[in-house]
Amino acid sequence: MAGAGGGGCPAGGNDFQWCFSQVKGAVDEDVAEADIISTVEFNYSGDLLATGDKGGRVVIFQREQENKGRAHSRGEYNVYSTFQSHEPEFDYLKSLEIEEKINKIRWLPQQNAAHFLLSTNDKTIKLWKISERDKRAEGYNLKDEDGRLRDPFRITALRVPILKPMDLMVEASPRRIFANAHTYHINSISVNSDHETYLSADDLRINLWHLEITDRSFNIVDIKPANMEELTEVITAAEFHPHQCNVLVYSSSKGTIRLCDMRSSALCDRHAKFFEEPEDPSSRSFFSEIISSISDVKFSHNGRYMMTRDYLSVKVWDLNMEGRPVETHQVHEYLRSKLCSLYENDCIFDKFECCWNGSDSAIMTGSYNNFFRMFDRNTRRDVTLEASRENSKPRASLKPRKVCTGGKRKKDEISVDSLDFNKKILHTAWHPMESIIAVAATNNLYIFQDKIN
């Protein structure tokens, strides 16, 4: 369906045939809290795949060069670099511990041999440079091979240092630290298409940064009421438009999306567009607001649409139509009758992310029981797949799963009451050009590839 290059699909609209490729992470039943993956992101070329976890670590996988001899072999992702991005901090003024959990990672477009990414926890954003070193210089005049300084008076001859190959070393170094700009918890970062600025959003404010400047940021959205007692709505996600550097959107806990144009004023309190779907009176309940709360918003690659994820569905919006979405895809409608229990165990507050494929023809999002869902926008077909160790034979096709909502349960179906709500897939990523997906299931990262291409 989606060929390389993110261009048109082959005729016939073949369904994807997803196969297991790899799984990363420990196999233990006992999952260490710190190992829980909290964000997954491919870089612009798809050659690098970054994950962040609750322990504040970033692990970057690199795709191996394809073996040209074997036509159908696909490059595997192997560990490229691991580093501790954020440490737990203690705010002494407020007697609060600041979690080191990585909330989001966003790659910068590559401009030279090094790779840059932004990683953020609740309070601080860091710009990391990941660079390779595969040569080192030998034969310095002023120091020994050990590094000890040589006495200048003993030097009788000069030599030119030569570069010698060494084992590849990948270094990650923090180049910028953007701190002290957020009172509330950061939920989003987004790099602007100008490649010079980026935004960071917390529950009540959105700030604009320049990548070079760490001691100053500009507040562009502020929804904090004068009286905090009047607070009824928070910002849940924000993103820059992929092409228009002046446009950004942010979503709220009330299920609304606001599009802002930074050209209109310095402070984007007044939105340029306001997206909200009218509530369906027949499905109104006490939990209407909670399930309408948007947990993720993503622009399509072509910049004409945006997608929002709320608790039960994924909606695709045309940026020119504010009144309602152009598509609504049900993720797990069978949970609607279980909202009370899900409220009780707090699952109703889970924040699922969503993503587009490279050609914007398909979208993906996670669910419970390690299920994830994919929707083909052209054929209107959807599929439920599972990320599990049982289906982890190399190149094994994933079998579509089905949840039985009532009545007689067919073979291979799983009933709603048997779903494991502790196995949630909140973070997924789709390769920007190829049919490769990364799915984070608690502490494991699954990589699946499409057999047909």
Binding site: T232, S282, R284, E289, S293
Partner: protein, 237 residues
């Protein structure tokens, strides 16, 4: 910074409209959501659950704002649906609250009604605590506010820093930016100088001198009048 996006006004209108329809939908047995569970038991236990969640959330050193706001808003909805559709008299007697609750709830579980009434009473305390300058006498009998509870009771006062019932003392820093509107409030203003600048205070400041002037004029009139009466007629007059 006042947040005055269009959404806020629209929301108020929606809430007004919703206020009427919310009260009715949950009583409608043909409503799909309602027919699934008995509405009375559902709303009451949901109410308790929501209050528990709110407690729990507020006890965190740094509450998850999204979670907090969503729980509070849900609590409002539940509370709104538990209010009687007709307005109560201003000061209903204590038995009224439980009996109103009984009529709303299918069950005649006295314990349930009593606990609900006491929870509502707790919320009243919080509202009254937020208006601290007024004496405790303002606090009516339990259940008074069942009818008098404004639609915006829930969040307003549950989040107020002065609450002692639901919140611990050390929660003044709940939201880092100190909400100085409490201190700027008109209710705190002694009727003279030493005012903090602020919108409410600005108004108070303007009003106070005018009052003084009017009072002065009146006093002058009285004095002049009195003096006129008292002064013995003399040659110079």
């Amino acid at each position: 910074m006042l947040s005055k996006g269009l959404k806020r006004k629209r929301e108020e209108e929606e809430e007004k409209e919703e206020g009427l329809s919310v009260d009715s939908w949950w009583l409608d047995q043909s409503h799909p959501a309602v027919s699934q569970t008995p509405p009375a038991a559902a709303s009451s236990s949901l109410f308790d659950l929501s209050v528990l969640k709110l407690h729990h959330s507020l006890r965190q050193s740094e509450p998850d704002l999204r979670h907090l706001v969503l729980v509070v808003n849900t609590l409002r909805r539940i509370q709104a649906s538990m209010e009687p559709a007709t307005a109560l008299p201003p000061v209903p007697t204590p038995p009224t609250a439980p009996s109103v609750a009984d009529s709303l709830l299918a069950s005649s579980d006295a314990g349930l009604s009593a606990s609900m009434a006491s929870l509502l009473e707790d919320l009243n305390h919080i509202e009254d605590l937020n208006q601290v300058p007024e004496p405790q006498a303002d606090e009516g009998p339990p259940g008074r506010s069942v009818g008098g509870v404004p639609a915006n009771l829930g969040a307003l006062d549950l989040l107020g820093p002065a609450t002692g019932c639901l919140l611990d003392d050390g929660l003044e820093g709940l939201f880092e930016d100190i909400d100085t509107s409490m201190y700027d409030s008109e209710l705190w203003v002694p009727a003279s100088e030493g005012l903090k600048p602020g919108p409410e205070n600005g108004l108070a400041k303007e009003q106070t001198p005018e009052l003084d002037e009017a009072e002065l004029d009146y006093l002058m009139d009285v004095l002049v009048g009195t003096q006129a009466l008292e002064r013995p007629p003399g040659p110079g007059r």
